[in-house]
């Protein structure tokens, strides 16, 4: 009996090509939109987290106790060489970057602003987070004799700085003496991390140590791990061996990012629900009409003695086949659009200012995960099944002869 239902379902799909194509196209288009949207939303937040990890926190950061509450040079990591020795003994650390920073005042001939001066090693940052890819103007270097500085794009804009502009940075050294140092801007960086872009000037570690009268010292050591799944395990190990330090993961340092991710997940879920409801209503509408318009045909089948089970199975199979083909087509289109958006990205530079305010990149890249397709499969599957429940209930209740005689529907 099931074979007959299968045969009828297949014939019905094949011999009504226009209707079948219409349903398949509707499912495919809404599904590919759904997949694209999900990938893009996830990509936005992933990008934000990645740039934060690459440009600042790493997966784990080490600070001297109390430094984060009171950013004074009384709370620094020292001696760094000893810490490095300990780090080398911990398995799973891919790279690390030593930074020394001090807050102060940056001034040009026309304007001065509060800013943070950061001493870094260009080579270490390059290994750590491919820092050079953040360079938008000038070169990724500190120039001759380390007299150059890299500056955050937003700060450069505020101070109206260009490559070659001279700035003076004033800050307290370790002895509480006010010192000044002059640099020429050699490069402008756009990291996507608002804290860095709006507030930071990067100089060589040697210059910074001299400027602050410090040796073998750092305010932060950021670590990248080989396997992000092992982050917590490595953190625990470091906490044991570096008892007098703060060992914090990126999500502990940037709880806002986690909140944003959670909000985005809710937003994602809400968008997904809306698109799903729209798609489900679309599928429901088309399936409902396609069953209702054939109510006479099904009534004839029932009238001549076809068991209800066969008609029911035929309708469910038809809907499932349409849903499955629609899903395959939609998943393919969605996959293509996700591949495109994850490699070429979507250029939203016309909204750059607004996006950068929230740390988003003006070129958005999508994420691709297998679970998107699994979620979509179940969404289509349930929408398709839901769409045939009502018509089947109608079919179960009616007297076939009333439909055949045109007294119903």
């Amino acid at each position: 009996m099931y074979k007959i239902a299968q045969h009828l379902a297949w014939l019905s799909l094949w011999r009504r090509k226009t209707r079948s194509l219409m349903v398949i196209m509707m499912i495919a288009l809404s599904l590919s939109g759904l997949l694209g949207l999900q990938g893009l939303y996830d990509g936005m937040i992933t990008h934000l987290i990645n740039t934060t990890i690459r440009s600042d926190s790493g997966e784990i950061s080490l600070y001297a106790k109390e430094y984060r509450l009171n950013k004074s040079l009384d709370h620094i990591l020292n001696p760094v060489s000893h810490i490095e020795e300990k780090l080398l003994r911990v398995k799973g650390i891919k790279s690390y970057s030593i930074r020394l920073q001090q807050e102060g005042l940056i001034a040009t001939a026309h304007k001065s602003l509060g800013a943070t001066l950061k001493g870094i090693s260009l080579e270490s940052e390059q290994t750590f987070g491919q820092f050079d890819t953040f360079t938008t103007k000038g070169t990724y270097s500190f120039g001759e004799k380390n007299k150059g500085a890299l500056i955050g794009s937003a700060l450069a804009k505020k101070l109206n700085l260009e490559i070659g502009s001279r700035v003076i940075f004033t800050a307290q050294d370790v002895n509480n003496e006010i010192n000044s140092i002059s640099f020429r801007i050699s490069g402008i960086l756009k990291t996507g991390n608002p804290a860095l872009d709006e507030n930071s000037v990067f100089v060589s570690m040697e210059k910074m140590s001299q400027f602050l009268n410090l040796k073998d010292s750092a305010t932060q050591i950021a670590l990248r791990v080989e396997d992000t799944e092992q982050t917590e395990k490595i953190q625990k190990e470091l906490r044991k061996s570096l008892e007098n330090m703060e060992v914090l993961r990126w999500d502990e340092l940037y709880p806002l990012l986690i909140q944003m991710r959670d909000i985005m997940e809710i937003f994602n879920l809400a968008s997904y629900a809306i698109v799903f409801i729209v798609a489900a209503l679309g599928i429901f509408g088309v399936m409902l009409v396609s069953v209702l318009e054939r109510m006479r045909e099904f009534s004839i089948m029932l009238a001549i003695g076809t068991p209800y089970k066969i008609v029911r199975d035929q309708i469910i199979l038809e809907a499932s086949l349409l849903g499955f083909i629609g899903f395959m087509a939609g998943a393919f289109l969605g996959w293509i659009s996700l591949i495109y958006m994850s490699t070429a990205g979507i250029d939203l530079r016309s909204f750059e200012a607004g996006l950068e305010m929230y740390g988003y990149s003006a070129i958005m890249y999508a994420d691709i995960h297998l679970y998107y397709f699994l979620q979509a499969f179940f969404a289509v599957f349930f929408a398709t099944l839901l769409s045939v429940i009502w018509p089947l209930r109608i079919l179960k209740k009616i007297k076939p002869i009333q439909v055949i005689q045109g007294k119903m529907l």
Partner: protein, 223 residues
């Protein structure tokens, strides 16, 4: 088949109430070739539908081979229709996604006849009804007269005990009407299939062995 005090009322206890059949008492013997006749609205189609289990009586009993089929569940009634009754409707009512061949063999397929037997029976009926050339066409590709012949072939293919035909000649020209009646008559005589028509077509009435005339839901003549 025996009908005892059968009544049918549409929209009972409402202002739209219609008494379609009143106290119908009839007996049909095996191998009858009978027509239910009467003006439009006399209740002949309603009676035919009740005999075939497509509609239920408001009250009364219907027996087939001494079994009360009026008490059957919808599922049991569908089984009875499938196994024992062939329907020919006024508007052909073929299944549009099936070819002529598949339509004729559809009920046999449901009854699990083997494919060879189905093919042989389809060819036999197609030859009798002169529709051999149409076997691979879809209903939408053939004329009304041809569709009615296919509907007849579908109704008789599984050799049911009873064939019920509602105005089968209403949409046919005289030549096709004659062909259809000859076919049903041959089946009736050779295979002792009981045939009951609902019709007011003179030609059908002339061919019938028994005529039951209804007027306003009441049997006024049985000859």
């Amino acid at each position: 088949m025996k009908l005892n005090h059968v009544y049918k009322t549409f929209y009972p206890d409402s202002p739209k109430e219609v008494k379609a059949l009143t106290d119908i008492n009839l007996m049909f013997e095996k191998g009858e070739f009978t027509t239910l006749s009467g003006e439009s609205g006399s209740g002949k189609t309603t009676l035919l539908n009740i005999i075939g289990g497509l509609d239920s009586a408001t009250s009364g009993q219907i027996f087939l081979d001494d079994e009360e089929i009026s008490a059957y569940s919808e599922e049991k009634m569908a089984k009875l229709r499938l196994h024992d009754i062939g329907f020919i409707f006024q508007a052909y009512n073929l299944i549009h996604v099936l070819t002529v061949r598949e339509n004729i063999g559809f009920i046999m397929k449901l009854l699990k006849f083997d494919d060879q037997e189905i093919d042989a029976r389809v060819l036999e009926l197609a030859s009798i009804l002169q529709i051999e050339d149409l076997l691979d066409k879809l209903p939408g590709e053939i004329s009304g007269g041809q569709q009615q012949r296919v509907a007849v072939a579908r109704a008789v293919a599984s050799r049911p005990k009873l064939i019920l035909a509602d105005e089968p000649t209403a949409n046919l020209d005289s030549k096709n009407s004659e062909r259809l009646m000859n076919m049903l008559r041959t089946l009736n005589e050779k295979e002792h299939v009981t045939v009951i028509f609902a019709s007011h077509d003179k030609y059908v009435l002339e061919q019938s062995k028994r005529i039951i005339v209804l007027d306003d839901g009441v049997v006024i003549e049985d000859r």
